[in-house]
């Protein structure tokens, strides 16, 4: 039972890191960023190719995280920026970007799964009957570190305060003279870096492939809806809840339908509260 919960926490941390990236972007720009999965994939492949070329894992990981940030900002500059006045077109553009990014990965690296090696591959943490492979422990540590860093950024810096202002009320923030474009790029940069962290952290347990992030992305969207679109701490809490639910479902009902348990939660929320569980700001979702 404790083992299952530990697995749930592992999944939850993964979902939280991905979901925070999604919700941040949603908060400032109202875009359901399906392309985030593509960002994660490209970050993972970058890590793989740098590490495959012989660089130490830490260097490869940093390269992957940087690549995540770069690609994410590129999606904003090249595509999302142009539909800021037409939110109805956002899902279509996001899906188009996902199609492009995943197939770029397919084109560059082929469809076969790649294995990402880490220095902590063979580490196994044990406490009584509960065991946790090093790669999973590393993910939990990385997730906590990056979320704490994000928290400090949002609460302690003027940059973070500006971003929160934009998320709360875009028009008012613009009137106060906050440079909107920079905020958009910054949100995508942070989301991309977090996507990179997710890729580096869970690539080694799973295989690196063009479709590695599909399931995670769907679960992350459930987390975002669960926590309220636009809410960072809602995403963290929602991530842990969903991780534990999926972990329990996989262990006691059926592993094959792991992500279906997330869907059940989503349906429940939408039936009970079509507007999401927690509305974080007055803006209507349309």
């Amino acid at each position: 039972m404790i083992q299952v919960l530990v697995n749930g926490v592992f999944l939850g941390c993964l979902f939280a890191v991905v979901a925070v990236g999604l919700t941040l972007v949603y908060g400032v720009m109202e875009v359901p960023n399906f392309a985030h999965a593509g960002v994660i994939v490209l970050a993972a492949y970058t890590t793989w190719s740098v590490s495959h070329a012989g660089a130490p894992f830490a260097v490869a990981a940093l390269a992957g995280i940087a690549c995540g940030g770069l690609v994410s900002v590129l999606t904003e500059v090249l595509a999302y920026r142009w539909i800021i006045t037409r939110p109805a077109a956002a899902p279509a553009v996001a899906l188009g970007l996902l199609l492009i990014l995943q197939n770029v990965a397919l084109r560059l690296y082929g469809g076969e799964g790649r294995s990402l090696d880490t220095p902590y591959d063979t580490v196994l943490l044990k406490a009584g009957s509960v065991s946790l492979p090093g790669v999973k422990a590393a993910l939990i540590v990385l997730a906590v570190l990056s979320l704490v860093a994000l928290h400090l950024l949002l609460s302690r810096t003027s940059l973070g305060r500006a971003m929160r202002a934009v998320a709360q009320d875009r028009e008012a923030a613009a009137m106060l003279g906050i440079p909107m474009r920079r905020q958009y790029s910054l949100a995508f940069l942070i989301a991309g870096l977090l996507g990179g962290v997710a890729a580096v952290a869970y690539g080694p347990t799973f295989q690196v492939s063009p479709y590695m992030a599909d399931d995670v992305l769907l679960s992350a969207f459930v987390v975002v809806v669960l926590g309220g679109l636009g809410s960072v701490w809602g995403a963290v809490a929602g991530g842990l809840v969903l991780g534990v639910v999926e972990g329990l479902g996989a262990a006691y009902v059926s592993a094959a339908y792991q992500s279906a348990f997330g869907f059940l939660i989503l349906v429940l929320i939408l039936v009970l509260r079509p507007g999401g569980l927690r509305s974080t700001n007055a803006r209507r979702v349309a």
């Binding site: 083992q3 697995n7 082929g110 469809g111 076969e112 799964g113 294995s115 990402l116 090696d117 591959d121 063979t122 196994l124 044990k126 065991s131 492979p133 090093g134 790669v135 347990t205 799973f206 295989q207 590695m212 996989a250 262990a251 592993a255 094959a256 792991q258």
Partner: protein, 412 residues
Amino acid sequence: MRSRTAAALTASAVLISTAACGSGGGSGDDTTVKIGAILSMSGIYSTLGAPQKKALQMGVEDLSKQGFTVAGKKRTMAISYADDKSDAATTGVTQLRELVQAKKLPVIAYGLGSDTYVPQLKRKPVAMLNLIDSVYPSILRLSPHFWRVRGDSPTYVPGCFYYAKRQLGIKSVSVITAKGEGYGEGLTQLVNKFAPAEGIKVAASTQFPVGSTDYSNAIRTAVAAKPDAVYLSSVTAVILPVLKQLRQSGYTGPVIHSAGINPNQAKDILGAQFNSIMKDNYDCAGTLPTTSDNPAAKSFAAAYQARYNEYPQDLTMWAHDFPFIVAAAMAKAGTTTDSAKIEKALAEIPIPSGTVSGWIAGDGKLFTERMARTASEVTTWCSNKQTLASAMTFDVNNGTVVQPNLKKDVCS
């Protein structure tokens, strides 16, 4: 009104022009015999299809050197290759229609997805020779037009446990199965049948959905039963990631499977730690050309390795022999185009000369009930050499291991 009619006409034109794109047409050269091959050259099973194509090309070249005669005319062979992208139901069946209905080829070699081809075979029958699918229950029951150029799982799974009991002293085994993957599910059925026959208890049997990436639940239950060995049921690309997580979870005992993993694949899929992960691995499947005692197979293996710089799997030698088998059947049938007559001849041909696989004839004929087979083998991983070595060769008769040949000093 006019604009709408015009739009309808434009739409029709679009429909016609998309249909007319691409190029068709066959060659008028009647000394070149054309046959087809649908292989998984990309996607998850590309570890099978890509080497098959290479071996088929070598087979066609070797056949041209030897030459063959049908209806008094000397012929050469050419194969139209099609990629099913590891998705027989979507891409493979389209390719089959292309090869059979548009190109009118009389014989098709193929890999996976037998059941998906059955409805199309009912509409347009053609001889289809399978080069790899040893799944249990046999594909041959699905259609009378299916033939198999290799032995099936029941001809090698019993050897796993014969060896495991005598050489490894194993009394219990846990099985981890890729659910939804036919080969793996068939293997598990056979393990449940043949392990107890050797007095080995199945301690736990767990599953993970094929396509999933986190196997921790299946691994945990399998290892918790404290088995002497773990058997992994599925193909190479599916079980290697499981093997990696199994070792990461701390399991150090023997691992048995029937996936035909070769050193290149181990390195590609497992990464830098492949040598330690592959330790204490036992693979029971068809004989490998590299470890074979048969000189023809050995020299083929050497030629393949020299040419492509990769380890030749068991399926390469079967693929190499495929053009020879078709040529022999065509020669006997006296036709290069009539699929029904060629099929009839397949049932009657002896082992064709020029083949390298070491076929085991039944009653002097290559095919027994539409199956041709070679000997089977248990191989093990040698960490000191970072490669495979033969530990035992054998044949199976009615579920019992016969002619076992245990090797000594396997890894030295």
